[in-house]
């Protein structure tokens, strides 16, 4: 397993007028091995940008990102990404989508089949392997996308609002399933979301970003409470009724509310 280190990350985009727009300013953050860190922040605070740099899809203008002690320069199969819009290959079946990463690695057919079957089972998707993405509901599509990322057994998982496009009910189900999956196969995870409750429910720590420019505002530790109260064994609605949960959620919410502006 590998950790993720953001060291003094700055990111500026050139603007049309020839100037610069600072999207992120001096962000230092470490996601430990097997830790689940959620990032929340107002729109435009640079959450996606942060994740893309860890993935190697974007490059910081200052500072550096290291995964497992190695500086990130390009995408690599040690880091898997789940996008908000799923980004499944529309011309491939569920099976082919999930097996894609393994094929890239040259894994034998038997191994591919075994992994596909395993994740279909874990994701409660048995029997859909020959369907095309457009024949699946949004929730199912996102399960395939998550399975596709898990299938390459990455050291690091990067998720950018993976449940953002789902309806509220499906979202709750997916949150529970993600908790199940991460407890069974813990991986270093950077999870980006707009939803405060989701962040608190899923993660070990919640990172709150501020914007203009995107900066680190505060890191809220959830793990001690989660372990002490045994959240992982409880249903999601039961957890959300706990006073400790409400307290943490309100805390994060206040950190965000202070900076939300009418134009958001």
């Amino acid at each position: 397993m590998k950790d993720i280190r953001f060291e003094g990350i700055g990111k500026a985009f050139p603007t049309r007028g020839g100037g610069q727009f600072v999207a992120l300013d001096d962000v230092t953050l470490t996601v430990a091995e097997r830790e689940f860190v959620a990032v929340v922040g107002p729109s435009g605070s640079g959450k996606t940008t942060l994740m893309r740099m860890a993935a190697g899809l974007d490059h910081p203008t200052s500072g550096q990102v290291a995964v497992g002690g190695k500086r990130v320069t390009a995408p690599g199969p040690d880091r898997a990404v789940v996008f908000q819009q799923f980004a499944l290959f529309p011309w491939k079946t569920v099976r082919e989508n999930i097996a894609f990463g393994l094929r890239c690695q040259g894994a034998p057919r038997a191994k591919q089949d075994e992994v596909v079957a395993r994740y279909l089972r874990l994701m409660n998707m048995e029997g859909t392997e020959d369907r095309y993405p457009h024949q699946l509901s949004g929730g199912m599509q996102q399960r395939v996308a998550i399975a596709r990322s898990y299938a390459i057994e990455p050291d690091v998982l990067l998720m950018d609002e993976p449940f953002g496009a789902l309806d509220a009910q499906t979202r709750t189900v997916m949150q529970e399933e993600l908790v199940r999956l991460t407890r069974r196969e813990p991986r270093t995870t950077l999870f980006i979301t707009h939803a405060v409750e989701e962040a608190v429910y899923l993660s070990d720590r919640v990172v709150v970003l501020a914007r203009d420019p995107g900066r680190l505002r505060e890191i809220v530790d959830i793990r001690p409470t989660r372990i002490a109260e045994g959240w992982d064994e409880m249903a999601i609605d039961a957890v959300m009724d706990l006073p400790s949960f409400t307290h943490l959620r309100t805390h994060v919410w206040r950190l965000l509310r202070d900076q939300i502006r009418p134009d958001d």
Partner: protein, 259 residues
């Protein structure tokens, strides 16, 4: 812009078709133009039928057509094999785009038929020369449509493949190609039309067999009915090619389009 009833439309279409042949027949039979210049529709059909059995310019019409189609298939296939991958790669890699685009833009303004002399000098007048001219005519739509298609592939999907560890060639074959297939097939259709027309052009100028050669021989023999029989054959084959590719396009759109 009032709508026509189906009956009215049908009647007018029929009138138009009859009118076309009637005018042709009328002009040809009236003696307004010399009969040597404009044969009647029936004579053209009869000539086409006759040419199917009796050799003209060395071969029967069908043999000439076979020679033409062979060259067409080679030139068009070559254009697709070069144009599609190059277009996809240019759509994906900016640097390649920046390098190739100005050269391509420069060459594109040279009419394909202007390549005939070099094609003949380099590859002879048998198969190679005409094939090169067809290639020059057919390449641009293949390349441009693959390029546009690749640009329109959802960037997230390309990134997803990248992140899952796909190599450049794999991204081209498994992501960009299927992702831009509708656009590519549309380009191939345009390309086939241009290939067919460039082929005729090339055969008019340099060739010793083929439908274009038939027409230019007939021209120097002052035999307009053979010229027009050749035009008929060219039109029928061109139409058949277009219909076939249009079908393919519809199929591809239905199958991949909704993605």
């Amino acid at each position: 812009m009032a709508q026509l009833s189906p009956l009215e439309r049908w009647v007018l279409t029929l009138l138009g078709t009859i009118g076309f042949f009637a005018i042709w027949q009328g002009v040809a039979a009236s003696g307004l133009v010399s009969h040597n210049a404009l044969p009647t529709p029936a004579e053209v059909l009869a000539t086409a039928w006759q040419l199917s059995f009796e050799p003209f310019a060395g071969h029967t019409l069908l043999q000439h057509l076979a020679a033409s189609l062979g060259r067409f298939a080679m030139g068009f296939g070559l254009a697709a094999l070069v144009g599609v991958p190059l277009g996809l790669a240019m759509g994906r890699w900016r640097l390649l785009d920046d390098i190739v685009s100005p050269i391509f833009e420069m060459l594109r303004f040279v009419a394909p038929l202007a390549w005939v002399p070099f094609a003949a000098l380099w590859f002879g007048t048998g198969i190679g020369g005409p094939v090169m001219v067809i290639f020059a005519g057919a390449l641009p739509p293949c390349l441009i449509n693959a390029y546009r298609g690749a640009k329109l592939v959802e960037p997230r999907i390309v990134e997803a493949a990248q992140v899952l560890g796909a190599s450049g060639p794999r991204i081209m074959a498994e992501v960009l190609l299927p992702g831009s297939l509708p656009s590519i097939v549309a380009g191939l259709r345009v390309s086939a039309g241009l290939a067919w027309q460039s082929l005729i052009g090339a055969e008019l100028i340099v060739a010793s067999a083929g439908i274009g050669y038939v027409m230019v021989q007939a021209q120097s023999n002052l035999a307009p009915s053979i010229v027009m029989a050749g035009m008929l054959a060219v039109g029928v084959i061109g139409l058949a090619l277009d219909v076939a590719l249009r079908r393919t396009e519809t199929l591809v759109k239905a199958r991949w389009g909704q993605a």
